[in-house]
Every structure is written in structure tokens, then in C-alpha cells.
């Protein structure tokens, strides 16, 4: 029983919690599950400092839900001390490896409840939901080469030709190189910045509400996936394959093929991947291709993944990192 081993127990990892209120919120969501009833709970806390009263209220909450706090681990001395005062087994951990408590359960954090609990416990750690908001730095631009022309089934030759010429002209007018930082600053200086973001938010919400196709396999060369809505792929998308969606495309793996998001004209559609190496990216009617210098037929598989997202800005496809590594 000394190595943090609990019989008939539940290991609940809340080591990422920065506030007592957060611990309570998440614990209550987890313990609410029917199979958590009557189990002993091994509570993994991170660096969070809890005094005796705070820990007591956590314990009381767990007990009120029909479970029992069997053991507490923490890297904070204060928390461990208060645990031993309350007669709970303790285990000291040195480096905290954050893991998700339950893969299939995402505890819904009630904002109001959290604020109310904050008032009670008086923690003043800043809200973590804002943590990842300011790191969406644009990284690179793939120069759009030409637009895709939507030709009708029975198009007249002349009209189509005119249309193509127009598109080619337009494509030529777009500057080849574009400084994203300057655009960023321009947007910030713009007075109507609130309106733009509101509009984008609205569109993102619309995309969010589309049906989503969920696929859990590797897409290989020659395979094509089309969906009216969003597509989520758990696996790699190999070169030579294509994904076409009216909404967003998310690849939990390496994107090496062709991805066409917002194929019915949704310019707010996005393409996300753990590793971006697409032959072509298309959003609505804008096309970007891989630079010739990086013309490697297959991506080298690595352990380091940098999740990236492609969005359209000013009629150009821009890739930015989702998280800083």
C-alpha cells in the first residue's frame, strides 16, 4: 500500500488544477459517474497548496457523493501535512506527469460554480482557460498559386474561358510574398477589430454546428474522403489521398495529402493537423501548395509534433502553430 496502490480504488488525477475550486469542480463531475460510487479515491494533486480546511471540504464533498478519499499525493508540503492531519494516507511525488483522468469523460466545468467557489476559498490564480489564447503566432505562408474555378457541368466554352482568364489575372495580382506580422498589426490598429472577430466567431459557431464525420484509421494514397460537414481523422493522411469537407478538417496525425476545407465556399473553414506537410491545402476557392524545395514524397515520422492550423486571411492561406513547444 506504500506505492500509491489503492484497492477497489479510483485514481483521480487533478494535478493540473491550480485552484481548490477547480479540484472540486472536476472531482464532482467525475464522482458523479455511476461506476465511481462507493470507491476509494486516490487523489493526485499537483503543486496546489491546500490548507487543512480546504482539504477537509474536498474530503467532505467526496464523502457526500458516496466515495472515500483513501490517499492523496501532492508535491506541496502544506497539502501533505494537512492530509496527514486529517488521517489520509499520503504519497509524495516529485515530478508531476499530467495525465487525463478519464479518456472518455471530459468534466464540464461550470463557470458560475467555479466563481462562487473562488469566492469561498479565495484562490486568486488566474483563469487557465485564457492560457492558450495569445500564442497563435502565424508561422509561414504558402503562396497561393491559382484559384479553383467552379465550372458547371454544361458550361459554355467562352464564358468558362473568360472566367479562367479573370481568375488567372486575379491570382497574378496577389503579391507572392506577404508579411504576416504587418497584417497582424494592421488588424490590431483597426477600429473595427471587434466587429471582425464577432463576425468570425459567428462563422466559427456555424461551422461548429455542422455534422462531424469521425474516422479512426490511416488514409492511404488514392483514398478520398468527402463529407458535408466537419471531418476528424485519428490517423495519418498519406500523400496521394484527399479529404474534402464543407466544414473544418482535423487530422490527429500527419497530414501529407490534399485537404480541402470549406469546399462549398466557407472561407472560415480551417485545417488542423498534428503535423502539416500537405501537398496542397485548399480553403474555399483558395489553393496553396507545398513549396518545391520541400518536395519530400513522405514525411519522416518523428516524436515531436507541432500542432498547426491553416486558416484563410486576406485571401491567403496562413499556417500557424496551435501551441508553443
Amino acid at each position: 500500500m506504500e506505492k500509491g496502490y489503492v484497492e477497489n480504488g479510483f485514481i483521480v488525477d487533478v494535478s493540473h488544477a491550480k485552484k481548490t475550486s477547480q479540484v472540486i469542480c472536476e472531482l464532482s463531475a467525475i464522482l458523479d459517474l455511476p461506476d465511481a460510487q462507493g470507491k476509494d479515491v486516490f487523489l493526485k494533486l499537483g503543486a496546489l497548496e491546500m490548507n487543512r480546511t480546504q482539504l477537509l471540504s474536498v474530503k467532505a464533498m467526496v464523502e457526500s457523493m458516496g466515495s472515500n478519499v483513501e490517499k492523496v499525493s501532492s508535491s506541496s508540503k502544506l497539502t501533505l501535512q494537512s492530509a496527514s492531519e486529517l488521517g489520509i494516507d499520503t504519497a509524495e511525488i516529485e515530478n508531476v506527469v499530467p495525465t487525463i483522468a478519464f479518456d472518455n469523460v471530459k468534466p464540464e466545468v461550470n463557470k458560475e460554480l467555479e466563481v462562487a467557489l473562488d469566492k469561498i476559498f479565495g484562490d486568486d490564480v488566474s483563469d487557465i482557460s485564457n492560457l492558450h489564447k495569445d500564442i497563435n503566432e502565424p508561422k509561414e505562408v504558402i503562396e497561393p498559386e491559382e484559384k479553383i474555378v467552379q465550372a458547371n457541368e454544361d458550361f459554355s466554352q467562352e464564358a468558362a474561358h473568360d472566367e479562367i482568364n479573370k481568375v488567372i489575372e486575379e491570382a497574378n495580382n496577389i503579391d507572392a510574398e506577404i508579411d504576416i506580422n504587418s497584417i497582424e498589426s494592421e488588424i490590431k490598429e483597426d477600429d473595427s477589430v471587434e466587429e471582425i472577430s464577432e463576425e468570425i466567431k459567428q462563422h466559427l459557431k456555424e461551422t461548429e454546428q455542422l455534422p462531424t464525420l469521425y474516422i479512426q484509421r490511416t488514409l492511404r494514397s488514392g483514398q478520398s474522403l468527402k463529407s458535408e460537414g466537419n471531418i476528424v481523422i485519428i490517423g495519418d493522411v498519406n500523400p496521394g489521398s484527399e479529404i474534402i469537407a464543407t466544414g473544418d478538417i482535423t487530422v490527429w496525425g500527419i497530414l501529407g495529402g490534399i485537404a480541402h476545407a470549406g469546399c462549398d465556399g466557407n472561407t472560415y473553414a480551417r485545417v488542423r493537423a498534428l503535423k502539416m506537410n500537405p501537398i496542397q491545402l485548399r480553403i474555399a476557392d483558395i489553393l496553396a501548395r507545398r513549396p518545391d524545395t520541400a518536395n519530400i514524397p513522405y514525411v519522416q515520422k518523428t516524436d515531436t509534433f507541432v500542432p498547426e492550423e491553416a486558416v484563410m486571411r486576406n485571401k491567403k492561406i496562413v499556417i500557424h502553430k496551435l501551441y508553443e513547444v
Binding site: 465550372a151 454544361d154 488514392g222 489521398s241 518536395n295
Partner: protein, 272 residues
Amino acid sequence: MSGRVIVITSGKGGVGKTTTNANIGTALAKAGKKVVMIDTDLGLRNLDLLLGLENRIVYTIVDVVEKRCKLKQALVKDKKNPNLCLLAAAQTRDKTAVTEEQLKDICERLQKDFDFILVDCPAGIEQGFQNAVAGASEAIVVTTPEMSAIRDADRIIGLLEAKEEIKSYHLLLNRVRPKLIKSNDMMSVDEVVDILSAELIGIIPEDTGIITSTNKGEPIVNDEKSLAGQAYMNVAKRIMGEEVPFLNLEEDNSFMGKVKSFFSHLVGKEKK
């Protein structure tokens, strides 16, 4: 202007049809001819990779056939040579997406604007082969000095002879290894020509540079030092009607080779 439609075929897979196509096409374009290459290997396209044009393909031959775009839109221009164009195959479809008549029609339309139309044929003798051959009037049969490849080439030549549209065909012997021929481990060029009784248009030596050029997406004819590149250049010249002697692959041109041959002269013909 009426361009020549040449199909490059082999029967057997992996003998170098696509590599030959990419290199002859590039060589012809370098000589100032207007060239278009058609990849008819639907579902297993490779020609775009060899030319390094994979990232530029928007429309494919299937889009042209199904009238989603105009023929000119689907032609992908080469990175370096504006005389060279590629009509790519669709990767997500199979051979049934295009019919013989449609391919014939495409070839006829391209003949007006191009000097050479090179059709890259898929392996096998099924629908894909029939499609590729449909619009062509000349053929280049690629083979290697191996029994299996020669047997398949023989079958292909038989099929080509039965086609009225094919006016002439030539043989291209690929991956020849002079050392192995010398040591009697590989069939010699003459033997192959004897078996197939077809006119030879080129002998391409085995070259490791082909592997790197394929991976880079850069045809080997762009490398003037490479022996295989020179051989492909000569094939292009012969296609254009020039008389070019075949490269002497037997001769070892390096200094060590000359020293060796000098000594072997002194020792006499003991090896043979």
C-alpha cells in the same frame, strides 16, 4: 501542326516506363519541342512525382473527361521548361474512369498545339493499356535484359502489331549492366534484339543516379554528366530523326579501366 503521339509501354511493371517517359519528355522539351506527357496510370500515378509536379496538380485527366475543367486548365507546366506540360492521372479513381474514345479525343485535341504527346502506359494488358494505346500512332516498348521482361515485351509487341493505329514501334533496353554482360551473367543487347526482332531506339545503362533523381523529382537528363542522362538524350535525338550512334557502354573510361585494359592486353586473352 500535327504532333506525334507516342505511347511508352512495357507490359511488365518496374522496368522504367515512367522514368523513360519523364526523361524523354524533358529531353525533347530541352531540344525546343513542345511536349505534353499524359499519365494514363489512373489510381497509381507516378509521373508527377518523377517530374516534381505533384504539388501543382489541381485538375486531372478525369476532370477533363468529366468536363469539370477545360483541357488547357488541366495541363501542368513544368517548373523549368515552359515547353513541357503534364496531364496528370487521377489518383482516387481507377482505369474505368476514362474510355479509349475519350483518350483518343484528348490526344487529337493536343496534337494541334504540341509536337510530341507522350503517353505513359500502365503495366499490364488490360483496360489501362488499351486506353493508353488508343490515341497513339507510335510506340516505344521498354524492357530490361531479363527473361520475364522480354517475355512480356514480346506479348506487348504482338498486341501492338495487331493494332492498326500503331504505325511503328521501337525497343528501348533499360537497366543494362555492361559488366554483367561481359561476365556472361546478363543477356547482351544483341541477344535481346534477336529475340524480339524489333528496331532498337536506345540502350540505357543501369545508373544509381536514377534513384536520387526520382526521389528529388528531377529527371536525370538534366544532369549532363550522368551516363543514363546522355543515353536518354540520345533517344530523344533519335526520335527527332537524328542519327546518333549508341553509347559504348562496354568501354571503361576511367583511368583505372585504361590501366586494366593495358595490362590485359599484355597478358593476352587468357580470360576468354
